[in-house]
């Protein structure tokens, strides 16, 4: 089947070649080979396979590709935020909770000069609109602007999604019940599901989470890699809900008293792990402190806070510099409460404080810190006084470092649940093989995207970008690289999982090589006798 289609294409290419060879004098310069970068296998095995598949389809437009894997860390540093994209990239972005708000997709990744605008696209009109949506507190108004932005973005094709991720979760169903799906959030980013709802079915009352990587520390002002885990210990004010709404957590309610003043009311009766009550003083202390010191890891979320003031024992006001509709979904779900009595007297650098060594890992979250052996295991015990305390005694996160150990742990019963790293297909296989394991799919808003360098030819040309997008074979990527666990991407930058924000009226391109070639031809591109694509001839 495969080889037949290749033959077909060769014939097609040859005929195109013959056709355009006659008009050889009307061709411009040949389009040079395109470098295509992607995440090396250290962060997952699907990226490379995707890059191979996508480039083999794009090659049918008469293009040549140089594949170049880059280690995850270097990739993020040089391309995601470093502005170092040469030609094209096939990348993935995770299902972070704050990405349920459209700001990440519409503004951070697409507006002029934004640090994460890796495609380096800049359209003043679009950017102005992207800033506007952020200041619109009225939901209906904001949705209108967001839809407008999606249409605009789709029309200009600065970058586009390929597929969305289906994560998986596999667990020991003989030992644990009521494991609920956090989708579209990733389980390792959300403490509520499945973690707090899980119920032990045996007298093993410690939930063992077989995971890959270590946490880098517990100081919430410094940690970025494992925000979800650290939020087990430190409560946030609000939480993302799978439905896309922001629900109360440590804060019982909040409201904008005017455009820039957010009044937050804390839940009463909460205590820190050392037994002291949680009050507005703690929250005010924490927020003013982090605004003052601006920890690098938090800078983006704090940027808009002007001042925080206590109203009464359980109420405080957050004064913003400008009206900000993304503040609640991105900041209230992220900011945390430190106990003032533990921190007030500390004279050193807050961000630098090694709170494990200082015995200062004290929050008000559903779990208390117990032990940490680097690269081996973290252990937390249940904070029974918590309003959402789970019905078991504690949770352990095993840093196993490799997939095989994770599947071995689940098979042998040393691990109770696994949520990532082991490829979803392998989780599904494992559960099918072992009676005691259950598996569910978690469709998320994590996405695989194609980025192009909008500052460099031929990507500066809208027709070229549109042709590439039309030749992006989502289906093949989903079946062959994601092994069937995927959601085909819709149109526009906002993932179709975010039902509240995604504009259904924007229709995605159907994969169509001939259509893509037609776009190129219309824009003046041509092919030489070898089938190579040439720029339009200079006038």
């Amino acid at each position: 089947m495969q080889s037949k289609s290749i033959v077909k294409w060769t014939v097609l290419l040859a005929s195109f070649g013959a056709l355009s060879a006659a008009n050889a004098e009307e061709l411009g310069e040949p389009v040079p080979p395109i470098s295509l970068v992607y995440y090396a296998a250290d962060i997952g095995i699907e990226h490379e396979q995707s890059a191979r598949i996508l480039s083999s389809e794009w090659a049918k437009l008469g293009l040549e590709f140089e594949l170049q894997p880059i280690q995850f860390g270097t990739f993020v540093a040089t391309i995601n935020v470093g502005g170092g994209l040469e030609d094209m990239a096939v990348v993935a972005v995770g299902a972070d909770p704050d990405r349920t708000d459209p700001t990440y997709w519409l503004s951070d990744s697409s507006a002029c000069g934004e640090r994460r605008n890796a495609s380096k696209w800049c359209d003043e009109e679009y950017s102005a609109l992207a800033s506007l949506q952020r200041t619109q507190i009225d939901l209906d108004e904001r949705i209108k602007t967001v839809n407008q932005l999606q249409n605009y973005h789709h029309e200009k094709a600065p970058w586009w999604p390929v597929t969305h991720y289906v994560y998986g979760m596999v667990w020991n169903s003989e030992k644990w019940g009521n494991i609920s799906s956090p989708a579209p959030l990733a389980p390792h980013e959300d403490p509520v599901r499945p973690w707090l709802s899980a119920e032990p079915l045996t007298d093993d009352r410690i939930l063992d989470w077989a995971y890959l990587e270590d946490v880098s520390g517990y100081n919430p002002m410094a940690e970025e890699g494992a925000v979800g885990w650290v939020r087990f210990v430190f409560d946030t004010f609000a939480k993302n809900d799978p439905s896309g709404e922001i629900v109360p957590w440590a804060a019982e309610s909040w409201e904008f008293t005017d455009e820039t003043n957010l009044r937050v009311k804390l839940r009463e009766g909460m205590t820190f792990h050392d037994g002291e009550p949680v009050t507005a003083d703690d929250a005010v202390f924490t927020l003013n402190k982090v605004v003052e010191i601006q920890p690098p890891a938090m800078a983006a979320r704090l940027g808009n806070i002007a001042n925080v003031e206590k109203v009464d024992d359980y109420t405080f006001d957050i004064q913003l510099k400008s009206s900000d509709s993304a503040f609640v979904p991105t900041a209230l779900t992220f900011l945390f409460i430190l106990p003032e009595h533990v921190w007030a007297d500390y004279s050193g650098d807050f961000v630098d404080r090694d709170i494990v060594a200082d015995n200062a890992v004290i929050g008000s979250g559903p779990f208390k810190f117990e032990t940490w052996r680097p690269n081996e295991v973290h252990e937390l015990s249940t904070h029974t006084a918590h309003f959402a305390a789970p019905k078991y005694d504690g949770v352990r996160r095993l840093a196993l470092g490799q997939s095989d150990a994770i599947s071995a742990a689940l098979q042998a019963g040393d691990g109770d649940i696994a949520t990532a790293v082991l490829p979803v297909a392998a989780m599904s296989d494992l559960a099918a093989r072992e009676d005691h394991l259950d598996f569910i799919e978690l469709p998320t808003h994590a996405s695989q995207l194609v980025w192009v360098n909008n500052e460099k030819a031929p990507f500066t040309d809208l027709a070229f970008r549109k042709a590439l997008r039309m030749a992006t074979h989502n289906q093949r990527v989903g079946i062959e690289a994601f092994q069937g666990f995927f959601i085909p991407a819709g149109a526009g930058p906002v993932p179709n999982q975010l039902a509240l924000w995604h504009d259904e009226s924007v229709k995605p391109d159907a994969f169509d090589i001939e259509g893509a070639r037609a776009i190129l031809e219309e824009a003046g591109y041509g092919w030489d006798s070898q089938g190579r694509l040439h720029y339009p001839p200079p006038n």
Binding site: D42, I45, G484
Partner: protein, 302 residues
Amino acid sequence: MAKTPTLTNKAANVGLRHRMLNPVAMLWQDGSARIGMIVFFLFAVVAIFAPYLAPYPPFESSLSEAGRLRRLEPPSIDHWLGTTTFGHDVFSQLIMGFRLAFVVGVVAALAVGFVSTLIGIISGYFGGVIDDLLMRLTDVALSIPTLPFAIVAVGLLGPSIENIILVITVLFWRNGARIIRSTVLTEREKIYVKWARTAGASHFHIIINHILPNVFRIVFLWITMSVAFAILTEASLSFLGLGDPTAVSWGQMLNTAFVSGSLRTAWWWVAPPSIALVVLISSIYLIGRGYEELNNPRLRRR
């Protein structure tokens, strides 16, 4: 012996050819070396014809009639060694792996052989300050932990075949240079070298005509062993996920099986590259072993 510097080219060539074949002919006498050479030769043949032997492109996913991925299938008529988690044909990947092993092994070994011979000869022949400097350099190089260096260097330079070969060359010239130097030291003192020098022969001439042919056996052995080191290093790097992703290698096959969590189930995917690696590296060790037996008179059987 060649007293005058006017040895004809033809004679020199015959001498060289004789010396090139000599180790091979000599090794043929040793049973285990013979096995090693036969295996090595067979592997080389597969490597050369790999693209014609592999039934599928190594990264082509096999799909069923219904368009589903034929992943992790055990061996069948369609796929002699089954498929990987991406539905790739294991047999085709295995065959293409021969090619990569030989490219890396042979190119790196020749580079290692060249560098270590150059340094060994210059150091041993000229002696004095040059020798001191080069040997200090060798001391430093010998203190570099092999695999950790390879990991750090490839991690920083980026995983590509060229970088892997470069790193292997940087790592393995050191032991060779030492061994070759000590052989040169004894050759240098031989009477005919002194004659040649008094007869006014240039250093270059003496090195090419008198020193090099006599250290050739050692160089040959070192290059042979370097093939094994190079293949082993490439396999280890690839297994750790630092291999060249655009080519198929046995280490990389094992890495994919490992990180995709298939190690425990897909024996048809894990066993073939493992066996190929063991057989190839062992065959080279068998050659090296036979060589040692033949050259150490006290080990030789009587």
